[in-house]
């Protein structure tokens, strides 16, 4: 089954448009992937990279694990997962959409963490507001 058959084309187009605008406004962002809860790529920036399908699967696993850990720790409303590395940052944000989507953002180390988090949350809010329910 191709991705095109799996998801509403309008969701894919809207997602791709928002990711493109986000990456243009935040030049240290190297990769952004909108992912279904079960690990399929819905949209990505840049589009059509071979690695994005794998990033999509990994980010959905990590999002699910972070939600499981949140539950086990007795916390609520899992928001985002941040991985800081020596050369950049990976951020995974769950979106309040139906069906569930998450967003994986990869940025070079030049991007300030706080700015990246703020911009990523704004992107998440825009996606939540504009994707067809």
């Amino acid at each position: 089954m191709s991705t095109n058959q799996r998801f509403d084309p309008e969701v894919m187009r809207t997602g791709a448009r928002h990711l493109q605008a986000f990456a243009t406004a935040n030049p240290d962002v190297t990769l952004a992937v909108l992912t279904s809860g079960d690990g399929f790529e819905v949209a990505s920036y840049p589009p059509n990279l071979p690695m994005t399908a794998r990033i999509a699967a990994m980010s959905s696993s990590m999002q699910a694990l972070s939600e499981a850990l949140t539950r086990e720790a007795g916390l609520v409303e899992n928001r985002n997962l941040i991985i800081e590395t020596g050369s950049g940052t990976v951020m995974i944000l769950g979106l309040a959409t139906t069906p569930r989507l998450s967003l994986a953002i990869v940025a070079k180390s030049g991007e300030l963490l706080g700015k990246l988090l703020w911009a990523s949350r704004n992107l998440g809010t825009k996606l939540e507001g504009s994707l067809p329910k």
């Binding site: 089954m1 809860g37 079960d38 690990g39 399929f40 699967a57 699910a64």
Partner: protein, 184 residues
């Protein structure tokens, strides 16, 4: 096997083989689950699918704690197979006996986990078998393993039944005990 130790057992197999159900059937606690809505109805028509892991546990009478890890079934989550397989004491491979891909699936997962956990015993549980072809299917499974130079106990199971899942776990634990005795 010494008392108060912890053992890690991995349940693996393709999507829809019953890994989450098996762990839920026997776990002493409500398992940690990472199920999400399944968008791949073509591969297997079910509502939800595991995307990271399942985790349950059983406490044995001698104080041993058996941690039960379930892998996601789909290839795209194979990175989780490697992570979950690390440090496991044995693998229970579940196969959907009603699937036309039962034997290819068996070969795929047996080969993968023979590489990931090469020293560890594994057991095969074949679900959704029919009484009329049960023996034939289990024989075919044994031959499929033999073609990979592997062998393992193979059982026809209903993973919704606690006793069936316990049979798989008990057999795996017995294999581990035999191995310990051989090493003495």
């Amino acid at each position: 096997m010494s008392a108060t130790q912890e053992l890690k057992i991995v349940f693996t197999g393709p999507m829809g083989a019953g890994k989450t159900t098996a762990i839920t059937s026997v776990s002493d606690i409500a398992p940690i689950s990472t199920e999400m809505r399944n968008h791949d109805q073509e591969s297997f028509a079910k509502e939800a699918t595991t995307v990271a892991l399942d985790l349950g546990h059983i406490g044995l009478e001698d104080g041993t704690v058996v941690r039960l890890y379930g892998t996601p079934g789909q290839d795209r989550f194979s990175f989780m197979w490697e992570i979950i397989g690390r440090g496991s004491m044995g693998v229970i491979l579940l196969i959907d006996g009603s699937s036309v891909n039962a034997l290819p699936d068996l070969r795929t997962y047996a080969a993968a986990f023979a590489r990931i956990a090469p020293e560890q015993p594994f057991i095969v549980g074949v679900g959704r078998t029919r009484a009329d072809d049960d023996v034939e299917l289990l024989d075919a499974c044994a031959q499929a393993l033999a073609s990979l130079q592997l062998s393992a106990p193979i059982f026809s199971v209903d993973v919704r039944k606690r006793e069936d899942v316990l049979l798989l776990i008990d057999t795996l634990l017995a294999s581990l005990e035999l191995r310990e005795l051989d090493q003495v």
